[in-house]
């Protein structure tokens, strides 16, 4: 779950990290009012779940309240990599002497937490990693041990920061690690972490991704409410379905994440374009199936529907009855192609056979079913 910058900063502030005062707003008037309260100069920053805000003109310095009005007007509604700006963060501007980079994330290969620190901040860390990898100082933290101040100090020493920044950086890194672990974050990134002319180390940006699986330990409602989903994803989310919207015309319903992913691959292989990823999980009863069909059917781009079910524990006849029952509940506007395989597939197919027509077809293999669905969607 991606947090906006301002949410990330509020999250960091709870763990005692120094962040700038600011206010989150949604209108030009509120932006101006916030700037008047905070006092100029301020930064006007677009709040979007994507990178490259600066380049897209989504981050501006405002010396006066008039500047705030102008920038807020321009930035609200701006399209940044397909994300329309609806929220702004108005923040007290900081003087910058140096820009650094700091982050924690999970290194899946090493199965340890990876800390990265660089004296080259303010730019894409991927670029630094590619062009000058020796400028990133890395440590791997065993989750059982955690991060000690001694280790953090050695780590900072290796990063060749300005000596004035040492104490402040050690302090922030210790707190960043605590925020990352206690907050169940997938990523905690500060870019840039700045050294001010007065010698203070300060958090100027925050990129935080939280692990939705840890919601039993944290209240994530506040962040869930600001997640940007398209309408289809919102509807599927409300039904508890695992759904990802894509831009093709073949609607997909499959049981299991791997099979659903594989279904998209096969549709693509035969020249079709999937409209979505949708995993209905292990079972395929009428309730789940009708919910899934509803979501797919409401997508105006969908021209054909491919239901790909492999019966494991769930038997073929249960799946077939589930599909038929669901079709009674939802008025389907696109033809459906079913591929049913696995446990008692023969029995399942026998139940479907009398119902087949132009709007409901059946194929025995995944590849053939994909071909028919792709053809129907053209």
């Amino acid at each position: 779950m991606d947090l906006f910058e301002y949410q990330g900063k509020q999250f960091f502030a709870r763990y005692g990290m120094p962040v700038s005062d600011g206010e989150a707003v949604q209108t030009v008037e509120d932006a101006v009012a916030a700037a008047e309260r905070l006092g100029t100069p301020v930064m006007v920053k677009a709040q979007v779940h994507t990178g490259g805000r600066g380049k897209a003109g989504g981050v501006k310095f405002a010396a006066t309240v008039d500047d705030v009005r102008e920038h807020a007007t321009n930035i609200l509604g701006l399209d940044i990599n397909g994300h329309i700006v609806e929220n702004l963060w108005i923040e007290v501007a900081s003087d910058i002497a140096e820009e650094y980079y700091a982050s924690f994330t999970l290194d899946r290969g090493a199965k340890k937490h990876l800390g990265m620190l660089s004296a080259e901040g303010g730019v894409e860390i991927e670029t630094v990693a590619e062009e000058t990898p020796d400028k990133i100082s890395k440590i791997w933290v065993d989750p059982v041990d955690g991060l000690s101040e001694e280790v953090a100090r050695e780590w900072v020493a290796k990063a060749n920061l300005n000596p004035d920044a040492t104490e402040g950086t050690v302090d922030i890194l210790m707190k960043l690690y605590t925020a990352y672990t206690e907050g169940d974050a997938d990523l905690c990134e500060i870019n840039p972490l700045i050294l001010t002319p007065e010698g203070k180390v300060h958090v100027l940006d925050a990129k935080v991704t939280l692990d939705g699986n840890a919601d039993f330990r944290h209240d994530l409602d506040e962040y869930d409410a600001t997640q940007k989903r398209d309408e289809r994803e919102e509807a599927a989310h409300a039904k508890g379905l695992q759904y990802v919207g894509l831009d093709g015309s073949v609607g997909v319903i499959a049981n299991g994440a791997g099979l659903a992913m594989s279904t998209l691959d096969v549709i693509n292989q035969v020249g079709g374009k999937p409209a979505n990823f949708l995993d209905i999980g292990g079972g395929a009863n009428a309730d789940v199936m009708s919910g899934a069909l509803q979501v797919i059917n409401d997508d105006p781009n969908v021209k054909a529907i491919f239901i790909n079910i492999f019966g494991g524990i769930t038997r073929g006849e249960e799946v077939a009855n589930g599909i038929l029952e669901a079709m009674k509940r939802v008025e389907i506007s696109s033809p459906i192609v079913i591929r049913l395989d696995g446990t008692n597939a023969e029995e399942g197919r026998a139940i479907l056979a009398p119902e087949l027509d132009d709007m409901l077809r059946m194929e025995t293999t995944m590849l053939d079913a994909a071909k028919v669905a792709a053809e129907l969607a053209k």
Binding site: L106, D211, S262, D265
Partner: protein, 294 residues
């Protein structure tokens, strides 16, 4: 032979008294798995369809000689369930539960490695494993697998594992063991662990490996195959068409920063001499060719 699990395995189910635990525990017993116990601190002394329930894994091990634990505990309790199983003295822990926080997984993976280096963890968020004809632990439908070998299967995806088992069964090809390692960021058992075990198992003559997008486990496996595996391998990697930055169902299945793409994984596997199919059926057909040539 088989790997990790055989007819001598004695299994205790943590969460046997819950609906999922009971359903699959009994199904596993019907298959022939030696289901010896369940645990629930509040229901010690009772039984589930004749299977005795103990307060914890340690007591179950003491009373029954259980050496495998299967976890059907809700996500919030998995961290302590895994440690209870390790402390209780089992050799293999199979954690079926999905939705376990990544920080918990990273923590108990390292804790086990340090304090219980001989305990194998499979999962979390995995379908379990089956050695057809001998034992089935987890949620795999046992009857879709043909017993006997010569193929060993390792997979990151549940339904694609079933698909693989089924395709081989349709072609009358048997399986020594099928291991579902699960789709989470920190799996307890890796592709490499399974490849090494299959390489060492005399009855396994060929290996089928099913991967998916995200992380670098398939690339690492490819390197391991190149260096250490003499047996032929066929493979399929799901998610060629997955858009970057979108999590495809599994917590671990996400292409981020241009890394973890299916194309890169397939290329690494081909480079290691693996026969790569573009869909599960094709991987099954490639395996049938391999088996015919053995």
């Amino acid at each position: 032979m088989s790997i990790f699990l055989d007819e001598n395995s004695k299994v205790v189910y943590q969460g046997l008294t819950g609906s999922q635990g009971r359903y699959y525990g009994l199904l596993n017993r019907d298959y022939g798995t030696n289901v010896v116990a369940g645990t629930n601190p509040k229901k010690a002394g009772t039984d589930v369809d004749g299977i005795p329930v103990y307060a914890n894994v340690g007591e179950a091990v003491e009373a029954t000689g259980a050496n495998v634990s299967c976890i059907f505990i809700p996500a919030a309790g998995v961290k302590s369930a895994v440690m209870e199983a390790a402390e209780g003295g089992v050799e293999l822990i199979v954690a079926i539960t999905e939705g376990v926080p990544a920080h918990d997984e990273a923590w108990f993976f390292n804790k086990l490695q340090r304090d219980y280096p001989n305990v194998r963890l499979l999962g979390p968020n995995c379908p379990g494993l089956i050695s057809p004809g001998k034992a089935n632990v987890g949620i795999t439908a046992g009857h879709i697998a043909k017993a006997g070998g010569p193929v060993g299967i390792v997979s990151r995806s549940g339904t694609l594992t079933y698909q693989a088992l089924y395709e081989l069964q349709q072609k009358d090809i048997g399986v020594t063991t099928c291991v579902g390692i699960g789709g989470d960021p920190v799996p307890g058992t890796s592709f490499i662990d399974c490849l090494a075990a299959f390489e060492a198992d005399p009855e396994t003559k060929a290996i089928m490996m099913i991967g998916e997008i995200g992380g670098s486990a398939e690339e690492e496996a490819a390197q391991f195959i190149k260096d250490h595996v003499t047996k032929p391998v066929s493979s399929y990697v799901a998610g060629v068409t997955a858009p970057p930055g979108k999590k495809m169902g599994h917590a671990g299945a996400i292409v981020s920063g241009g890394k973890g793409t299916a194309d890169a994984k397939m290329e690494a596997l081909r480079d290691a001499g693996v026969k790569v199919g573009l869909n599960p059926t094709e991987a099954g057909e490639l395996m049938a060719e391999i088996v015919a040539g053995l």
